[in-house]
Symmetry: C2
Subunit: 191 residues, 2 copies
């Protein structure tokens, strides 16, 4: 189980060339956070001040709607996340972010991010590209909702991200798929 900073470094170096100075700047700008299961990293209405690198664990994005929790996203370890609308546009967040496993994260404050972006070309490139990548992921989810049934979407997850089915409680997964827990339970029985 490697160190969180090594994880971040490896993530970046797999995609970009980093000078020692750049990495040093990045390293000192990220703060390590360890949280217990069910800890909130952001609540609705708050301003999201951090960009997170999730080194270990699992977080979900959810909101309250019609008296129910609706899980909008799930992010697994070795990836980045933030609440974009709040972080980039400085608006109050409309979702909660919660770690649903004990998690290890690195986070960078918005004020420090500006400096890193200005002083590290590699980071600047990375920041640009990961946003496009997240947009692609979101569009893929949207596309699947437009043209596939819940059962088909579930089977795709089962095949492509079996980890998700094992680690995410059914009620969250059902909500992520846009169906009730009962419906997902039925789908699982049919398979």
């Amino acid at each position: 189980m490697r160190n969180a900073y090594n994880g971040l470094k490896a993530f970046l170096e797999e995609r970009y060339k980093l000078t020692n100075a750049e990495w040093e700047l990045i390293r000192v700008s990220f703060e390590k956070v360890e949280v217990a299961k069910n800890t909130f990293l952001l609540e609705e209405g708050q301003h999201c001040e951090y960009l997170y690198y999730l080194h270990e664990g699992l977080v979900r994005f959810f909101r309250w709607e019609d008296g129910e929790e609706k899980t909008q996203y799930l992010t697994f370890e070795d990836y980045f996340f933030t609440q974009q609308e709040s972080f980039f546009l400085r608006r109050p967040s409309n979702v909660n972010i919660q770690a649903i496993e004990p998690s290890v994260l690195l986070r960078i404050h918005e004020r420090d991010l500006t400096r890193v972006r200005q002083q590290s070309p590699a980071w600047s490139q990375f920041a640009f590209e990961i946003r496009a990548e997240v947009q692609v992921v979101t569009e893929t989810l949207l596309r699947d909702f437009q043209s596939r049934t819940a059962k088909e979407r579930y089977l795709t997850i089962l095949e492509q991200q079996p980890e998700m089915v094992r680690r995410v409680p059914l009620k969250y997964l059902a909500s992520f798929l846009g169906i009730t827990p009962e419906s997902l339970s039925r789908i699982r029985k049919e398979v």
Copy 2:
């Protein structure tokens, strides 16, 4: 019916302070394009080389799936669009972009965009923020698919963007809503 360049300028100035030099740079970097109804601006498999400002008209993003056209997005006049995955990550596009009304557009080539971004702080800020804004729109669509029925989504469009119902052919709108034209027809009858 104002000039396309004036439209672009007004769009930007409503949100950002532009110096004369900045606007001049932007103006000469954008090329005007007028297209007939049903003209393709991008086809699947191609690389998207342009960022577009739609001054007048209506375009749709769609892909072929199961032998059918699936409309993924609709963009109306006085807004920007591109195929992000292709334009920003330099991958072949997985969607077609088609003007479904006679349209007037301004477009900027990727090579020129870099220069504008470097030389205009206002543009740089704008480029940053509009991507976040598009992400928010995409997430809102996704959220609606997760927690609302097709009928509810249709009624929201009818209320908030009645223009869309008037101008978009029913079969495209149905596909955008993730249902068949027959289902949308039934929903309209019920209302």
